[in-house]
């Protein structure tokens, strides 16, 4: 008997998995049997759209991991900082010229000196800093409140760049060559610093960020109502426009980053850097610049996610907790996989929503189901759905 089990171990394992999956499907079918078709479709749509935002957050975490191998626990707080900076420019009619100029100059100084501060001695670099600062300052302050979208977008862009570059320069760069775990712990420290900075700069009161407002009505965009399907589905299904916008933005970001990592030299260099920073440096890759770019990109993605989340529910320190909900999505998709982040985000979104549909009173959707799915996937594919399988030669 033991011999038979040993001989057919792999097949038996897969048979057990299949049995488990079949039981799960039977359980779900039983739970959903009494639900109207409209509710099931609504839950699926909500899961996909909310999952898109999760995917966007997950993408930021994956970008850092892909470039440096570091799991960034500060990503949630980078979302809050990005959202708050956007709010500051969006909700203030008269932006301080001095404040904007300082932000622009600091951003440009850090951006132009990613390789080394000594570059700032070069005339060309100085001119670029000056020109860039003037341009950014103008974008952040020109015109009245009619231009607040431009102010907010450029302010958030500059703020995100500054946050990402500063984190890399002063916290991560000194750890190049050190064990990765040191850098992971550093991200926990960065999270606390950003938490403190946010509290001091913006306080803790929840802020309204009316970005999804229809100018004609002064109200948030009306959801799309699928009235035509009401009879067929035995109920109304709605699609919230702000979630669609977030989803589309997430798709654009994913497409951009997939192209970036696959087809650009910087993207390929990032992947090489993640493999071995010292080796990458030895073959002439500019590890410092690559790390700086990846942190700036992650901070930018975090800002977008922070603004979208803030626009949907209000800007508060709670936004940082969204990143915690996204961790299963990152692991599910695979730590190094861009497309995995997106699909992982959507899967977790769907699982959460269906868990809530089945049992909201015990928080099955948020506290149990995502982690069960994660465990199941990791047992079957330890590297995640789209993660890279590593073969160690000994």
């Amino acid at each position: 008997m033991l011999e038979i089990i040993k001989k057919y171990e792999a097949q038996l394992r897969w048979a057990l998995y299949a049995l488990g999956a079949a039981l799960l499907l039977l359980f779900l079918a039983d739970q959903l049997a009494g639900k109207k078709a409209a509710r099931i479709l609504q839950t699926l749509l909500s899961g996909i759209l909310v999952g898109g935002v999760y995917g966007l957050v997950a993408l930021g975490i994956v970008v850092i991991n892909k470039a440096s191998g570091v799991f960034n626990f500060a990503h949630g707080w980078m979302m809050v900082v990005g959202g708050m900076i956007f709010w500051s420019f969006f909700s203030v009619s008269e932006i301080s010229l001095l404040g904007a100029a300082l932000l622009a100059t600091a951003t440009m100084l850090l951006a132009m000196s990613t390789a080394s501060f000594s570059r700032l001695r070069q005339r060309r670099t100085q001119l670029l800093v000056l020109g860039g600062s003037l341009l950014l300052t103008a974008l952040m302050t020109a015109g009245g409140s009619d231009w607040r979208w431009l102010h907010a977008l450029s302010g958030a862009f500059a703020g995100a760049m500054l946050t990402g570059l500063a984190v890399e320069r002063f916290a991560i760069r000194p750890l190049i060559g050190q064990p990765l775990f040191t850098a992971v712990l550093m991200t926990l420290a960065i999270a606390e610093v950003l938490h403190g900075v946010t509290q001091i700069a913006w306080g803790t009161v929840e802020l309204n960020l009316p970005i999804f407002v229809n100018p004609a009505t002064g109200s948030r965009f009306q959801p799309i109502r699928l009235e035509g399907l009401r009879e067929l589905l035995d109920g109304l299904v709605i699609v919230r426009v702000e979630l669609v916008i977030a989803f589309v933005l997430a798709l654009v970001a994913f497409s951009g980053f997939i192209i970036f990592f696959r087809y650009t030299s910087v993207g390929l260099a990032m992947r090489a850097t993640a493999e071995d920073q010292q080796l990458a440096q030895a073959v002439g890759l500019r590890v410092r610049v690559i790390l700086a770019i990846s942190w700036a990109a992650a901070a930018f993605l975090a800002s977008i996610a922070g603004v979208l989340q803030g626009g949907a529910v209000g800007l508060s320190l709670n936004i940082s907790l969204v990143a915690l909900r996204v961790f299963p999505a990152v692991l599910l998709g695979g730590l190094e996989s861009i497309s995995g982040a997106f699909i992982g985000g959507i899967l977790i979104g769907i699982v959460e929503q269906f868990g809530t549909l089945i049992n909201s009173s015990q928080q099955v959707g948020t506290n149990l189901a995502p982690y069960l799915v994660l465990m199941l996937v990791l047992v079957l594919k330890p590297e995640g759905l789209f993660g890279e399988k590593r073969i160690e030669r000994v």
Binding site: E94, G203, N318
Partner: protein, 457 residues
């Protein structure tokens, strides 16, 4: 700039009934006990800690501002019986480990003076309940879970005293209101849509369901739970509606009730389904955050939301306590976002602490002779109109919480500031200075203060 304009607007509104403000500072509204002991040269500390940067920060943060302003006021008016007033506080970020750590630090560092502690959250109260009793430290709390005040069995009064009614009693009180107003709530069925945790879940339970059911107001057995980070709660709201609910009740605050209200508008059900909640839903934060989505009549989604109001509110301008706190708020140039219920109630908490301290010192002869047990004796015997009427502090029959409540409704001011708007066309819209406009939230009491039912079993 926009903050300045908002501040001006609020000052204009709240100051409209206070023509004397510009000339004179108002007298302190409380009828405090006369000092019999001179405490000159000593310090009376107000100890408090809680979540100032975590999930509840947006409502608790003004607590520090209010206590700071109260300390400033007292010290510029001769102190408490001559003693300087000070505050000692710590942010726990909503983390129970941090709460325990803060308690350990306070109780060791200030072992001699810590006789009275101000807490903010049900979870903190539940965690520290036994320790407060063992260390003989009285605690005032603005929360109302049964476990924090009466232990797991719900029958063992501890050393915590809540200024508001138990959340479960507030819910029972709301059921009374529903049963008494069938024209507003025909064939009522209540569904709980709420946050998780000690606060979120404190308003419901079998006793509440039985009580409400007995009044002809059935309550769904399964609460629908959502997180403060959720951006979409269609599933939870539809679950409740599909189960028959036509009233959604929430133990959440700030963006929580606003999200439920906006979901109802999205579903086109805001006219059919009523929204109500615990006392914290009746707050400025909810009124402002609820403006992201407008109803068909052009008013914010939270217009018409019901809730408990066991305190006075900012718009009750004929009351001396409200006038006084408003004046102090303006004098200290506080931001509009801080003009919430926590700021108002915290002035009351400081007033209660001062009154309890004066009474105890008068009895024991000196500040150093005050112990937790002495303080407890005072607190239990006090029948005191806090800040001259903001709420009543009265501990009866071994109870540990406020027993009076009102039901109020959230509305938005009309353009002439003579009452609530009926639609966007007659609503007061204030320019926020950045291209947007906002409605001015009002909280209008619908009932007198009345005793709440006792549902803790």
């Amino acid at each position: 700039m926009n903050r300045f304009i908002i501040l001006c607007a609020l000052v204009l509104l709240l100051g409209a009934a206070l023509p004397a403000l510009a000339q004179d500072m108002l007298p302190y509204p409380s009828d405090l006990t006369e000092c019999e002991v001179d405490l000159s040269g000593e310090t009376v500390n107000i100890f408090h800690f809680g979540d100032l940067s975590g999930p509840y920060a947006f409502i608790t943060q003004p607590i520090v501002s209010a206590v700071s302003d109260a300390v400033l006021y007292w010290n510029s008016h001769g102190g408490v019986c001559g003693a300087e007033l000070a505050q000692v506080y710590e942010d726990t970020g909503g983390n129970l480990e941090a709460t325990q750590s803060a308690y350990d630090r306070f109780s060791s560092e200030y072992a001699e003076e810590l006789d009275l502690l101000l807490l903010y959250g049900s979870g903190d109260g539940e965690l520290l309940r036994e320790q407060l009793a063992a260390d003989e430290i009285v605690s005032f709390i603005s929360a109302g879970s049964i476990e924090s005040l009466y232990g797991e069995d719900g029958q063992t009064p501890g050393w915590l005293y809540a200024s508001n009614p138990l959340y479960i009693n507030q819910f029972g009180f709301f059921c009374q209101f529903v049963a008494a107003n069938p024209e507003i709530f025909p064939d009522p069925v209540i569904g709980f849509v709420t946050w998780p945790g000690a606060f979120g879940m404190a308003g419901t339970g079998p006793a509440a369901r039985d009580y409400c059911g007995g009044l002809g107001v059935p309550v769904l057995a399964e609460p629908q739970i959502f997180l403060p980070t959720d951006s979409d709660i269609l599933t939870q709201v539809q679950n409740a509606i599909d189960s028959g609910a036509n009233i959604l009740y929430s133990n959440s605050l700030a963006s929580g009730p606003a999200l439920i209200a906006s979901t109802l508008v999205d579903l086109g059900m805001d006219e059919d389904i009523k929204l109500a909640g615990v006392n914290w839903v009746m707050d400025t934060t909810v009124g402002l955050l609820g403006q992201r989505v407008l109803k068909a009549n052009g008013l914010p989604s939270v217009d018409g939301m019901f809730g408990s109001m066991p305190y006075l509110w900012w718009t009750e301008r004929d009351n001396a306590a409200v006038q006084f706190v408003t004046q102090q708020f303006n004098a200290n140039k506080r931001s509009p976002a801080e003009q919430n219920i926590a700021y108002l109630v915290s002035w009351g908490a400081v007033d209660s602490i001062i009154e309890a301290t004066i009474r105890t010192v008068n009895r024991v002869g000196s500040l150093s002779a005050v112990t937790g047990a002495e303080m407890r004796e005072t607190v239990e015997s006090m029948d005191y109109a806090v800040l001259g009427g903001l709420y009543q502090h009265k501990i009866e029959d071994g109870m540990r919480e406020g027993t009076l409540n009102r039901i109020a409704v959230m509305k938005f001011a009309n353009a002439t500031m003579s009452g609530p708007a009926t639609g966007a066309e007659d609503a007061l819209l204030i320019d926020d200075g950045a291209g947007g406009k906002f409605f001015l939230p009002l909280v209008l009491p619908l009932t007198e203060f009345m005793p709440v039912p006792q549902l803790r079993g």
